[in-house]
């Protein structure tokens, strides 16, 4: 009987080895994205971008011969779900790397899990804390909050604004933004008169903005990624508050401006260049990258491209470039990302280093405004 056993094993072994020798191993890439739920504005275009890119790359033979097997998990922007998906992707699926999550709260929930599992994580969320302190395997492709806050404060100074009211949502993004605002305001000579936190599912914020009006603020700064940021615009104008309104880079989805209608006119916010791709000078290094992605996305999905889909593009392309250079050895790929310089993405030009796992600087943002229902560069 023993011989039978040995033969069986031998046959099995040969069968397993018998894969065609020319096809290289597929690379399993996981993605945890808020495709549904309150942050679906981020996750849905991110998921669509990844699906589109992976399909195109696989049609061309994958990353230097390695076909990509993409596993997208919809976290519904819940940190709890992100945690269980991260464990599943790392322990069961044994993915090579994880793209996402879309939001800061989720990313912080799985930062340690990815680090312990020695799995490369390329987050698409904004919060500073994701890469500060640096965890060796954790990177992020969205510009930091602090760049956005700095730019906003500089703009306020130019407009002689010093007393502001701050609104933020009770999400990871809102909280992280609020922290940066409070930390950086004194350095710019900005005084925060009122700071209010509202629920991410808020349906009307009249009372909150009335409080700002009562405090005689010179400007309103809102920090959220939910539909509430469009509601806030309407409520501010409805109660007759005429001061300038500033928003975070989370506003960079034209749907919000459309939803707020006339109330969105004149709102000032920082955003990556992808939003104003057509207005970029022809010789701008990002122009060709952004336009190629924009054209592919818009012709396929019949919807306008957003910053967030761009983050997914950057995350996948950075990973693909590192795998293309170093093959499927995770440590080498991690080091390759950490030392990558001059990568031209949609969010900016990435220059990673062992101490900077974001690789972007405040030049990644452009100050925009809404003019006649469209995003336009803010004239200085």
């Amino acid at each position: 009987m023993k011989i039978v056993k040995i033969i069986t094993y031998a046959v099995l072994f040969i069968a397993l080895m018998g894969q065609p020798a020319f096809a290289k191993d597929a690379v399993k890439i996981g993605a945890i994205l808020a495709v549904t739920g309150p942050a679906s504005f981020l996750g849905a275009p991110e998921a669509r971008t990844l699906e589109m890119l992976v399909e195109n790359m696989n049609a061309k033979g994958g990353i230097s011969g390695h076909k990509i097997e993409l596993i997208i998990k919809d976290s519904g922007s819940s940190p709890e779900k992100a945690v269980s998906f991260a464990k599943q992707l790392i322990e069961e699926e044994k993915v090579f790397a994880i793209l996402g999550p879309s939001t800061s709260g989720e990313t912080m929930a799985i930062k340690n899990i990815a680090e312990e599992g020695k799995t490369i994580l390329l987050s698409m969320a904004a919060a500073e804390v994701i890469v500060n302190p640096v965890a060796p395997h954790v990177f992020k492709v969205a510009p930091r909050d602090s760049f956005a806050v700095d730019l906003i404060f500089e703009q306020m100074k130019m407009m002689n604004i010093s007393r502001i009211g701050v609104l933020s949502s009770n999400t990871g993004f809102g909280k992280a933004g609020k922290e940066q605002i409070e930390k950086l305001a004194p350095g710019h000579g900005i005084q925060i008169v009122v700071s209010e936190v509202y629920d991410k599912a808020a349906t009307d914020l009249t009372a909150e903005v009335t409080k700002l009006k009562a405090a005689n603020v010179q400007a309103v700064l809102n920090w959220s990624i939910e539909p509430a940021q469009a509601i806030v615009l309407k409520n501010v104008r409805q109660i007759g508050l005429t001061v300038p309104v500033f928003q975070s880079h989370g506003f960079a989805n034209i749907q919000y401006a459309k939803a707020a209608g006339t109330a969105a006119e004149g709102v000032i916010f920082p955003a990556s260049r992808i939003i104003v791709a057509d207005a970029l000078p022809a010789k701008h290094p990002q122009k060709s990258v952004i336009q190629a992605y924009k054209k592919a996305y818009e012709s396929r999905y019949k919807e306008e491209v957003s910053t967030f889909g761009g983050h997914a593009y950057d995350a996948l392309m950075i990973l693909a470039k590192a795998i293309g250079e170093k093959g499927l050895t995770r440590d080498n790929v991690r080091t390759a990302i950490e030392n990558m310089k001059g990568f031209i993405g949609t969010a900016g030009i990435f220059n990673f280093s062992p101490t900077d796992h974001n690789g972007l600087d405040s030049g990644a943002f452009e100050m925009l405004t809404v003019r006649k229902g469209k995003f336009a560069p803010l004239k200085k």
Binding site: Y198, D199, T203, D204, A207, E208, T210, K234, Q238, G261
Partner: protein
């Protein structure tokens, strides 16, 4: 706090309150005929808003809203016929769990039909920034629309439940289903009708508040929670009380924001809900005696 701001907070409170009350009324109608809480009520509101926005792409506004109300009413009827009607002597708990299941079903279906985007009808009059200045207090015209349509709905329901045969049959079924059947009332049809009516009111509410709150596939649940609080606060089954309770909660929330950080707004709602459940389970305006006779 000066007087202008005081009234501005009142207006904010009334806006919240009316939205909550409209959802609460939907809860009450189904409760009145079946004695259950329909946890899919928030989804009716969402469905109404969503279909109205879709119809408005090719129909004028009033027609689009009417069509949305009609479609949602059909959905309400289908839900009752498919999931509730054939149950033999369903327990209250079982029916409630079914409605929770239905709410998830509707939400996911909406996600597949409309995607995750945020939608809204245009403002019925004026634009998103127009506001009436009433002595220094700014009121969005849409708030006036919502308040007046809400008032008409409540007046209509009061007449309906007190003076029409069908309305009284619905109340009879709520008080005692078996006795109502013995009197020759077709209890099953009454229940179907109550689902249709509450779906219709939910849909109407969803359409008229959508310019203010926006509507998204998952915007039903948070509304349902607030609506439920208000329904309990006013006393289950009483639509006029629901309006009063809605105003109380809305104005309280709005003044909470004035004095406390806004993050505590929902704490107030939950504290009130718990307080009422402990101290006066029949609601502020409900009768304790009547409540004792009820199953749930």
């Amino acid at each position: 706090m000066n007087i202008d701001l005081f009234f501005q907070y009142i207006v904010a409170g009334i806006t919240y309150g009316t939205i909550y009350a409209i959802v609460a009324i939907g809860f009450n109608i189904i409760y009145n005929s079946t004695g259950i809480i329909n946890f899919a009520q928030g989804e009716f509101v969402m469905l109404g808003g969503m279909t109205a926005v879709t119809f408005h792409t090719f129909l004028p506004l009033p027609v689009a809203i009417t069509a949305a109300v009609f479609v949602t009413t059909i959905v309400g009827a289908l839900i009752e016929v498919l999931f509730i009607r054939w149950l033999y002597k369903p327990s209250v708990l079982r029916m409630i769990i079914i409605t929770i299941g239905i709410s998830i079903l509707i939400r996911e279906t909406a996600l597949h039909i409309w995607g995750e985007g945020v939608r809204a009808l245009p403002y019925f009059s004026g634009t998103s920034v127009s506001a009436l200045n009433i002595g220094g207090v700014f009121v969005s015209p849409q708030v006036l629309w919502v308040v007046s349509i809400g008032a008409i709905v409540v007046a209509f329901l009061n007449v309906f439940f007190n003076y029409t045969m069908l309305g009284r049959q619905m109340r009879a079924c709520s008080a005692n289903r078996d006795a109502a059947r013995l009197c020759g009332i077709n209890a099953k049809n009454v229940v179907t009708f109550s689902f249709m009516l509450s779906a219709a009111i939910g849909a109407l509410g969803g359409s008229i508040v959508s310019p203010i709150t926006y509507v998204q596939y998952d915007s039903g649940t948070p509304l349902a929670i607030k609506g439920f609080t208000v329904a309990i606060l006013g006393g289950l089954g009483n639509s006029t009380a629901a309006v009063a309770a809605g105003m109380i909660l809305g104005v309280l929330e709005s003044f909470t924001i004035a004095v406390l950080p806004a993050a505590y707004k929902d704490v107030i709602a939950i504290v009130i809900l718990l307080g009422i459940l402990f101290i006066r389970p029949s609601g502020i305006f409900g009768s304790t005696e009547a409540a004792r006779l009820k199953e749930f």
